[in-house]
Each structure stands twice: as C-alpha cells, then as structure tokens.
C-alpha cells in the first residue's frame, strides 16, 4: 500500500514538474526573440509590491498582488496562426482544465487553469488571431480579482482578462 502511494505521488509530482517545465521551456524559447514582446514579473517583485502598495490602493489589487507568485506574457504578430498552433502543441494543455473558450472579433480565447483542492494555482491564457498572446499567472488565483486587476493594469493583452468577470 505504501509502495502504491509512493508511486502515485511520484507520478503526480513528475506530471506537475513536466507541465511547469514545458511552459518554462516555451517562454525561454521566445523571451529573447525580437519578434516577440515579453514581460516577466518575478515572485520577489510581487512580494515586494504587496508590501509597498499604498493603503490608498484598491483593496482587490492588494489582495491579488499578495497571492501572485509570477507573471509571464509573450505577444507576437501571428497572421498565419502558426505560433498559436505551436504553443498548443508544446504546452501540455490537456493537463489543464478548460475554464472558458471564446471567439471574439476573429480572436480565439482559451482560459486554462490548474487547481489544487479547489484553489487555482495557475491561470493560462491563449489568445489567437492576428496576434498571438500567451499569459501565465502563477500563485493563488481568485478569478474575480484577476478580472478586476485587468482594469487597473496597463499591460498589453490584460484587457482579455476582463472576460473572466463576465464568466463569473
């Protein structure tokens, strides 16, 4: 029994590490590519931001920042849709739960999540169309608050997160 539990735990841990690794690999592949725009915010930055955000700041924003551990964004012109297809092949999307898919003015939106005991630990957003955007949030994620964050932040592509609010 102990043996079985050990095998099961090893399997779960390996699968998690593999999918994290695939995302890391995808971002590493393109973050220095000049065709791409890239944003990376480290866990330490979020930790620091949570401490220095003024009390005047929106409480929701403080709550979101406090629980986030990392943010990565990649954006590229993709008229043929090749980057979108490649990303979906490279990133093991079947390990995520599809939260929402949408089509909006020629754009395909895919929101994927990975959770642990009903707590969302990763939110992955794919936007395909004339431009391809992939956005990865790591941390303890409250979808409603993330949607509100979209309104506050001046980050390209963040406007798509607003759709999460409609879903909720």
């Amino acid at each position: 029994m102990k043996h079985l539990l050990f095998i099961f735990l090893s399997f779960v841990l390996t699968t998690t590490a593999f999918s994290q690794g695939a995302i890391e690999k995808y971002f590493s592949k393109y973050e220095d590519d000049e065709n791409f725009s890239a944003v990376y915010v480290s866990p330490k930055m979020f930790k620091m931001a949570a401490k220095v955000l003024s009390e005047q700041e929106n409480q929701d924003l403080q709550d979101v920042v406090k629980d986030l551990k990392g943010l990565r964004i990649l954006k590229v012109d993709d008229p043929t849709g090749s980057y979108f297809k490649e990303a979906k092949k490279m990133i093991p999307t079947d390990e995520y739960e599809v939260l929402m898919t949408a089509r909006d003015e020629g754009q395909k939106l895919h929101f994927l999540t990975k959770d642990n005991n009903d707590v969302i630990e990763e939110l992955l957003l794919f936007v395909g169309g004339d431009e391809f955007i992939v956005m990865s949030f790591i941390g303890k994620i409250d979808l409603e608050k993330i949607a509100k964050l979209a309104k506050s932040l001046d980050i390209e592509g963040a406007e798509h997160l607003g759709k999460l609010e409609k879903k909720n």
């Binding site: 000049e34 930055m45 620091m48 931001a49 220095v52 955000l53 506050s152």
Partner: protein
C-alpha cells in the same frame, strides 16, 4: 598593527559594497569612453541635496517628506547613458544580464522587452531593505545602465504611495 587591521577591515567592507554590482561597474568602465557617452558617479550626499532641493518645489508637506526620506537612503548612484549608435550589442547586454544574475547574485525582478527595446530591473533585498538596484535599459540605438547602492527600507517606499493604477 591596530591601524593595519582597521585598514584591512575598511578595504574588506569596500569590496563587499561593490561586489554585488561588480559586473555593472566593469561594464561601465568598458564602455564609458565611447562616443556620445555620459558616465557619472553621484555620491549619497549629493543625491540627498538633490532630493531636498526637489522637495522645495512641492507645496504638499507630505510629498516634501517623501522626497527627503527617499533621498536619505541612497548611498551612491552610478550611471552611464549612450545616445545614438551605441556599440553596446544585444549580446553585450545578454552577457551583462547573465553576469548580474550568476556572478553578482542579483535577482531579476522585472523584465520587459518590446522588439529591440528592453528594460530589466535587478535588485538585492535583505530583511525588507533594498541594498542594490540596477536598471539595464537598451533601446534601438541607445543604452543606459543605472546602479544604485541604497539602504532603502520597503516601509519608506510604502510611504511614497506608489500606485500601479492606470490613473
């Protein structure tokens, strides 16, 4: 003997102070003689004078205090800016970024790149005090490197009411 020990301690302290930013200083030393390059070192007391002077232009008493308390925690600033056709290549910048992380053990806090424009923020924070802050800014043709040596507590930044809101 006593004097020798004191001298040795002072030298060691000096080395510790610059060790976290060694790669950045080496980079400035390498490129500072380029055409259209400005390189400058500003000591802490001059930064304080500057922030105190800036505070005078503010009517808001709280804002004046923020300027003054921010200025107090900067120990030193060194920067280099190259305008027009800088010889700093993307490879040079990648090497610098690698050295800052691997040799100087600075942590990459934020990285933003859009085409050929790239901004990277490195920090070294200990016990909620920012010790080192390095900004690497690479444009199409321009380049800037800013190095701060500070003892900035995060509480002081909180007082400054930084906001991430669009407005």
């Amino acid at each position: 003997m006593k004097r020798l020990s004191i001298t040795a301690i002072l030298i060691c302290l000096g080395l510790i102070t610059i060790s976290a930013q060694r790669s950045a200083h080496r980079f400035i030393d390498h490129f500072k003689n380029e055409n259209k390059c400005i390189a400058m070192t500003i000591p802490g007391f001059l930064i304080r004078t500057g922030t105190n002077f800036a505070a005078r232009f503010s009517d808001d008493e709280k804002e004046q205090q923020v300027y003054k308390s921010l200025g107090k925690h900067f120990k030193k600033m060194r920067f280099m800016a190259i305008e027009e056709k800088s010889n700093v290549t993307n490879e040079n910048v990648s090497d610098l970024v690698y050295d800052l992380k691997e040799s100087d053990h600075l942590e990459e806090y934020v990285k933003v790149r859009d085409g050929n424009n790239r901004v990277t923020v490195f920090m070294n924070e200990k016990d909620e005090i920012i010790k080192d802050l390095v900004l690497v800014i690479k444009g199409e043709e321009e380049f800037a490197l800013v190095i701060f040596k500070t003892d900035m507590p995060l509480d002081v930044l909180k007082e400054a009411h930084f906001s991430f809101n669009k407005k």
